[in-house]
């Protein structure tokens, strides 16, 4: 870490499309800081996959790296194909909540079950931002959206909890206010042998915040901060007390044989015969 961190080391000279105040800037910045602190002078050791949605634009085309920007919800299987053929690369998926746990949920669960050694970063802004603020599987109960103008009549999915139970080796959730913890989690995730999932609760001031009554992105961040409780704190709270709280921290950190290990073991075995 002798050299000073500069985003320009890792980014193409292309204006990002994000709105002012968007949490995607924070995720992009924090991830690249983690990469820098891990000692990567460039992104050669990485491959990035993303689907459709604002946060899928974090790596593509902005990262000076190999990036594949694919169809809505399908970044995880594409990343699986890349990783299986190039186990030496760090394969990282960026996607929004709609992409990862809406249309692409089945792939997420299966990737965790297979324990494919990729990192999935889900930027959860609780809304379909790019298409104009429609209800997501992560939108809190009762909140109004453009497709639930009388309030969301469905419950929100706890993606981290789900993926922890599906077999992931590393699961963490932070908000865009927890930048130093998030940065450390990115490092842990990339170094995890097996499936790693990071959920970042992020602000969409344009399609979410202003509709539910936040003046600006800053107010949303304050809301995140005021309502976040750590995993340890959460363990002492009742389900009722946890209503509308954001539980942050590391949910899973374990070791298990990864998919590339088990697949290549089979290849070795088959070639003996």
């Amino acid at each position: 870490m002798s050299e000073e961190f500069s985003l320009r080391t890792y980014l193409r000279d292309i204006q990002p499309p994000f709105c002012a105040g968007c949490g995607a800037f924070t995720v992009m910045n924090t991830f690249l800081r983690a990469v820098h602190e891990m000692g990567h002078k460039d992104l050669r050791g990485f491959a990035f996959c993303s689907g459709i949605g604002c946060s899928s634009w974090i790596p593509s085309p902005h990262f000076k790296a190999d990036t594949i920007h694919v169809t809505h919800g399908r970044s995880i299987p594409v990343a699986t194909g890349v990783k299986l053929m190039r186990p030496d690369l760090n394969v990282v998926v960026f996607g929004g909540d709609g992409d990862i746990v809406g249309i692409g949920l089945s792939h997420l669960i299966h990737a965790a079950r297979r324990n494919v050694d990729i990192t999935v970063v889900m930027v959860n802004n609780m809304i379909y931002g790019m298409t104009g603020g429609q209800v997501a599987p992560t939108t809190p109960f009762k909140l109004p959206t453009t497709t639930t103008p009388y309030g969301n009549f469905e419950r929100a999915l706890d993606a981290s909890k789900l993926i922890a139970s599906a077999g992931a080796c590393y699961v963490a959730r932070w908000t865009t206010t927890h930048v130093s913890q998030l940065k450390e989690s990115f490092k842990t995730a990339v170094n995890t042998k097996g499936f790693a999932f990071i959920e970042v609760i992020s602000q969409c001031p344009t399609a979410f915040g202003r509709r539910v009554g936040f003046k600006d992105a800053g107010e949303m961040l304050q809301w995140f901060k005021a309502n976040s409780v750590t995993v340890e704190e959460a363990n002492k709270l009742t389900e009722e007390e946890l209503q509308n709280k954001i539980v942050v921290g590391e949910f899973v950190k374990k070791e298990a044989p990864s998919l590339t290990e088990t697949v290549y073991a089979v290849l070795k075995e088959a070639q003996k015969k």
């Binding site: 292309i14 992104l43 050669r44 491959a47 996959c49 593509s60 085309p61 000076k64 790296a65 190999d66 990036t67 594949i68 920007h69 694919v70 169809t71 399908r74 299987p77 594409v78 990343a79 699986t80 194909g81 890349v82 990783k83 299986l84 053929m85 190039r86 030496d88 690369l89 089945s106 792939h107 299966h110 697949v263 089979v266 290849l267 075995e269 088959a270 070639q271 015969k273």
Partner: protein, 377 residues
């Protein structure tokens, strides 16, 4: 991998063996009748040559996974049937737009929907051409024997690599499941095509020439792959009308402008016939006998068997339409290739459909002969 010589084997096995011979190193699929034998054979044989065969959670994941693997430089394939082929359509568009070489084997069964899952059909012809949304062009091959399951699979990989595009091998339940003797040629006599790779320092992977070079992930090219409209460097251009036209017209053009090289037919007696038959796949097997018997009975009959369905063999069918007064189009669907023949004939010949669906019952030589004798009289 099979040694050269005469083998007795199933169509699906021939396809799988040919894929390995062509250089397949990554297969992903989802179980479906009548294509599961392909996945099963590859699961056993591919690891022996260091390749990976994996069963995914659905057909969408299967094609997505092989797209990812193809970008690492591997030759890739998936295999399915009608319902799974439908699920793959969006990502076929992605593969077309990102110029990702891959092979999709679709062993047709009787649809729509679950239909008759174990019975043969030829109803995916138009799905193979127009299944994804937007403007595109398809390369679709149609084998009619176990030998051709081998030969056309090799060709499918070669075309995918050469043109940097998805290629559909459109078989059917009958060809996939039947067993025949085939000749496996010596390895060094089989032409194998590999994708063109960029030289170090090259940056234009999505334009600049008809078929640009394709780098692999992890080679340091910083390749930007996107299903969005993009410029020659892979950078998204989502609003520029000129850029979109340029890209999509090149992608369509690289297939349609090379139709002469891609298209293959088997033509018989087309220059000197009163009546012609155009057919493909399993149905074409019944046509040989019907054509022979019609000629024996004095009805001068020609035959074009389409080994390539898409791009449609327009030139060859046009020649037939100018010679023959009538063209008969037998197919196991309710008219699909019929409309293409009608379009190409432009009224020069009367085009007669002969269709049969259900129960996997093939169109018989007698049924074809009856029409030939009636129309050729």
């Amino acid at each position: 991998m099979l040694n050269p010589g005469i083998k007795f084997m199933q169509g699906s096995q021939a396809l799988a063996e040919a894929a390995i011979t062509a250089g397949l190193r990554f297969f992903a699929g989802y179980p479906i009748t009548p294509a599961s034998e392909i996945a099963e054979h590859l699961a056993k044989e591919l690891p022996k040559v260091g390749g990976i065969a994996i069963q995914m959670e659905d057909e969408i994941a299967s094609i997505a996974t092989i797209i990812g693997a193809s970008w690492t430089g591997a030759k890739v394939m998936t295999a399915t049937s009608g319902p799974g082929f439908s699920l793959m359509q969006e990502n076929i568009g992605l593969a077309f737009m990102t110029e990702t070489p891959l092979v999709i084997a679709d062993m047709q069964r009787a649809g729509p929907s679950t239909g008759q899952a174990t019975k043969c059909g030829q109803g995916d012809v138009m799905q193979a051409r127009w299944g994804t949304h937007g403007d595109y062009a398809s390369i679709t091959l149609s084998p009619n024997s176990v030998q051709e399951m081998f030969d056309l699979t090799i060709r499918a990989f070669n075309l995918a690599e050469k043109y940097r595009t998805p290629v559909i091998l459109l078989g059917d339940e009958i060809i996939a499941h039947m067993r025949e003797s085939i000749i496996i040629p010596p390895k060094n006599s089989i032409e194998i095509v590999n994708r063109k790779k960029p030289r170090p320092g090259e940056t234009m992977f999505f334009g600049g020439e008809e078929i640009p070079p394709m780098p692999s992930i992890g080679e340091g090219f910083n390749v930007t792959v996107t299903g969005s409209t993009h410029d020659e460097y892979g950078i998204r251009i989502t609003a520029d009308p000129v850029g979109h036209r340029k890209l999509v017209k090149r992608l369509v053009g690289k297939i349609l402008n090379n139709a002469d090289e891609i298209v293959e037919v088997e033509a018989y007696n087309t220059e000197n016939c009163k009546i012609g038959v155009v057919s493909f796949g399993c149905t074409s097997r019944a046509v040989y006998e019907a054509v022979e018997r019609a000629n024996e009975k004095g009805v001068k009959t020609g035959f074009i068997r389409l080994k390539t369905l898409w791009p449609f063999p327009e030139k060859q069918v046009k020649v037939l339409a100018q010679t023959a007064k009538t063209i008969l189009v037998p197919e196991m669907n309710l008219r699909q290739i019929f409309f293409e023949v009608t379009r190409v004939a432009e009224g020069a010949a009367k085009v007669v459909p002969l269709n049969k669906i259900g129960g996997g019952e093939m169109i018989t030589p007698e049924e074809i002969l009856a029409v030939l004798l009636k129309e050729g009289a």
